[in-house]
Amino acid sequence: MTLESILVVAAIIFSIGLYGALSKRNAITVLMCIELMFNAVNISAVALSRYVLPAGLSAHGTPLDDRTVQFLLTGQIFSIFIITVAAAEIALGLAIVIAIYRTRQSVFVTDINLMKK
């Protein structure tokens, strides 16, 4: 379990989510795949926070002291914000999908082409 292996797993999950988000017709599946991509980004943020020293805190920059040592956890803080934004995004996305389903009786992204006509 090294940094590289975790980041490779994150890249694989992100690519699967990317493929699904681009190629699926069901809007709910597209939202699920976007969640997969958020998860992959969270994995890599936490892994980088766990294993990598920030450039500003490295041996060339300022050395670590009692105050700056806490910024090793910045990746986890980022992850918390990403999870929050993902929750807001999925709530709004599903609300939009249900509103479209009510008016047009379809959840397929290929059927939602009112602005193309």
């Binding site: 999950i13 956890l73 609300a95 999908v97």
Partner: protein, 182 residues
């Protein structure tokens, strides 16, 4: 230097990591490939749980708890409710006709990302050449992350913290306004 108790090197942790990683990747493939949307949502929960396990292995226990509460507890249920409300869509989960070029593009993206990850010289925390006390402090940060995260959230990141709460409120109001019966 050992971060925490330095259990990362042990064989059991490696084994657990690969089991969790492979199962969450397989679950992600199932989310994309299954015809039945409801089963895909169930496999999405498996993938979320795998990611929570990876967080535990990376000493981010607080994030693992948040992942289970928010993703497994809230977002999955929301998705399943949405699937049930659009239940009479019988065709399930089809791809459109561009799916093979898109698969090739995603595969290329994955290969480029893996290449970059493997090629980069990472500036690892383990190789930090500080004194013994500082190494111990780094270990302390990762052995109990919750108080450090709390301190960071209400000191250095307090503005983003407040803004994100306003964003959540706006999302709730927006979702209610969108699905309201007229």
């Amino acid at each position: 230097m050992t971060l925490g108790q330095g259990t990362e090197a042990s064989l059991v942790v490696d084994l657990v990591f690969w089991v969790i990683a492979v199962s969450s990747i397989v679950a992600a493939v199932a989310v994309v490939q299954l015809r039945n949307v409801f089963r895909a949502a169930l496999f999405l929960i498996v993938s979320f749980l795998g990611v929570a396990g990876l967080f535990v292995l990376m000493r981010a226990e607080f994030l693992a708890a948040v992942q289970i509460v928010v993703y497994v507890g809230a977002i999955s249920i929301l998705i399943i409710f949405a699937i049930l409300m659009t239940r009479d869509i019988e065709e399930g989960n089809p791809s459109h006709r561009l799916s093979i070029p898109l698969a090739i593009i995603s595969l290329l993206f994955m290969l480029v990302a893996i290449f970059v990850v493997v090629q980069t010289e990472w500036n690892l925390t383990e190789h930090y050449n500080g004194d013994l006390i500082m190494n111990q402090k780094i270990g302390n940060v990762f052995s109990n992350t919750v108080p450090w995260i709390a301190r960071l959230l209400v000191n250095d990141f307090v503005l983003a913290f407040e803004v994100v709460s306003v964003l959540l409120l706006a999302a709730i109001v927006g979702a209610l306004a969108l699905v309201r019966e007229r």
